[in-house]
């Protein structure tokens, strides 16, 4: 690597890594100089060693795999329901008016509050946890899709009419592309909500998953396990969001436009 490109990499990486490195340093200094007890916050190397142990023993992969599968299934089901619902209600204002009260009611009930009844109905296995993910993920996707579809540019719609585009062609070639940035925002926020709700559900009722691992660490008085689980969660969240950001850069016309600007 040439000196110039090394400087360029450092200039890019510094703003991203500066704060995490500072926090890590403070954490290390605090643990070393006993600003707090190791039971409250164990030293970074202890947490890393526990993380490594969990990783090589295969435990971490099992928990991550279980959580990822639940998130993936829940997210896909939520998107599969929220996208058509948002599109349909965005195109049909009257239907939205009729369904508004029920949707508002459901939106304002925290999904975790439904867990007891879901466990009664579906038992303690996967279904109830996936339903929690679906409920938490549905609304960000639905509401953003609805907003995107319900606010078309009337001038562009009129242009479509002038050129004889059918209602289907207006939807496919004008309304949907115009709503895509909003739909994408909903999907990106929804993915974050999937993770958050899943961990909550796993803490209440699960035998595997990162939420279970964190709760198990707490019950076994192992703060290092708790922190290893939290760090894994955070890193997975960043990776998932980075994946969504990359998909957005590849697929969204607004992103392409921003790059040209």
């Amino acid at each position: 690597m040439s000196k110039k490109s090394l400087i360029s990499v450092l200039t890019t990486a510094l703003p991203i890594l500066a704060l995490p490195l500072l926090l890590l340093l403070l954490w290390e200094l605090g643990a070393r100089w006993h600003w707090w007890g190791s039971y409250i916050l164990p030293a970074p190397e202890r947490v890393l060693s526990t993380w490594w142990h969990l990783a090589v023993s295969g435990q971490l992969a099992r928990h991550v795999g279980a959580s990822l599968l639940r998130v993936l299934i829940g997210f896909l089901i939520a998107a599969g329901l929220a996208l058509p619902a948002g599109i349909f209600l965005g195109l049909h204002h009257k239907a939205y008016v009729y369904s508004h009260s029920v949707l508002e009611f459901l939106r304002n009930v925290p999904p975790l509050a439904l867990l007891p009844i879901l466990i009664l109905w579906f038992g303690i296995d996967e279904t109830s946890k996936i339903i929690i993910v679906v409920l938490a993920t549905f609304f960000p996707i639905f509401l953003n899709t609805l907003a995107g579809m319900a606010q078309p540019d009337p001038q562009l719609i009129e242009m479509g009419r002038v050129y004889g585009l059918s209602p289907w062609a207006v939807f496919w070639h004008i309304r949907l592309p115009q709503a895509l940035p909003s739909i994408y925002t909903g999907l990106r926020i929804g993915l974050g909500y999937s993770w958050r709700s899943l961990i909550g559900a796993e803490m209440i009722a699960a035998a595997a998953g990162l939420g279970y691992l964190i709760l198990d660490g707490e019950e076994m008085a192992r703060p290092d396990v708790v922190l290893a689980g939290i760090l894994t969660l955070g890193v997975l969240g960043i990776l998932a969001d980075a994946l969504m950001a990359w998909a957005g850069r590849c697929l969204l016309w607004t992103e392409r436009r921003n790059r040209r600007a």
Binding site: G160, S166, R260
Partner: protein, 240 residues
């Protein structure tokens, strides 16, 4: 394509605050086939309403428009280019392929003719205002219209771009059989483009001028007398 006859055309808008606006009131006008008509008048005189009714974008509250048969194949161009920002110039120009249809070969020909060849793969945000409006004009012409309706299409452009686009439009008009109805509030533009200049005031026709000067037309200086005539037609009649 037969002549277009507008008889006793009226149109009323009901605003959300309850106000009723009479945009057109018993308007009678005639647009001969293959003519270049310019409708001129101040803001609020009903020019755009007339164009929207002719384009079928609204239904008149009274009177009728007789196209002498079925509605002709119509191309409409607005003041804003109304390009789809997610499509390239080439894709925008061919948007009619999902609707009324048009000629892809003609689109390519017009892109070349209007100097847009190197912008085929460009997006609307990469174009200047004049370029974007030129793309809109190509899109309108490439759908092979018999009737071309233009609503102040060059109003937002600078003087030089406007003159160039005016020349390009008249060039196309001379080349092919087209009936053009062009809306403007700019008298110089009306005189430069129109064979028939229909003066609208308060939703009615207050006069008609015809001009036979060939295209492309010269500078504006020698048009003062005609300009004065139009200005007189726009003046309120004195109460007696």
């Amino acid at each position: 394509m037969p002549d277009i006859t507008v008889s006793h055309l009226s149109h009323t808008y009901h605003l959300p605050d309850g106000t009723v606006v009479q945009a057109l009131s018993d308007l009678n006008a005639h647009f001969p086939a293959g003519s270049f008509s310019v409708v001129v008048g101040p803001s609020g005189c009903g020019k755009t309403t007339l164009l929207r009714l002719l384009a079928g974008l609204e239904t008149a509250t009274g009177g009728q428009i007789d196209f002498g048969g079925p509605r002709p194949r119509t191309g409409v161009m607005f003041q804003a280019p109304r390009l789809l920002p997610w499509l390239t110039v080439e894709e925008n120009v061919r948007i009619w392929q999902y609707g009324m249809g048009g000629s892809t070969a003609l689109a390519a020909q017009y892109l070349h003719l209007f100097g847009l060849d190197s912008f085929r793969k460009a997006y609307p945000d990469q174009l200047s205002g004049g370029m974007a409006q030129r793309v809109a004009l190509v899109r309108t012409l490439a759908c092979q219209p018999q009737l071309l309706l233009l609503d102040e299409p060059f109003a937002a452009l600078d003087y030089f771009t406007r003159e160039k686009l005016q020349d390009e439009l008249t060039e196309q008009y001379v080349r092919q059989p087209l009936t053009i109805i062009f809306i403007t509030h700019d008298l110089d533009e009306a005189l430069r483009l129109g064979e028939r200049i229909l003066v609208l005031r308060r939703g009615r026709q207050s006069g008609l001028l015809t001009r036979s000067e060939p295209y492309p037309r010269q500078a504006l200086a020698d048009r003062t007398r005609e300009k004065q005539t139009i200005l007189q037609l726009l003046e309120e009649p004195h109460e007696t």
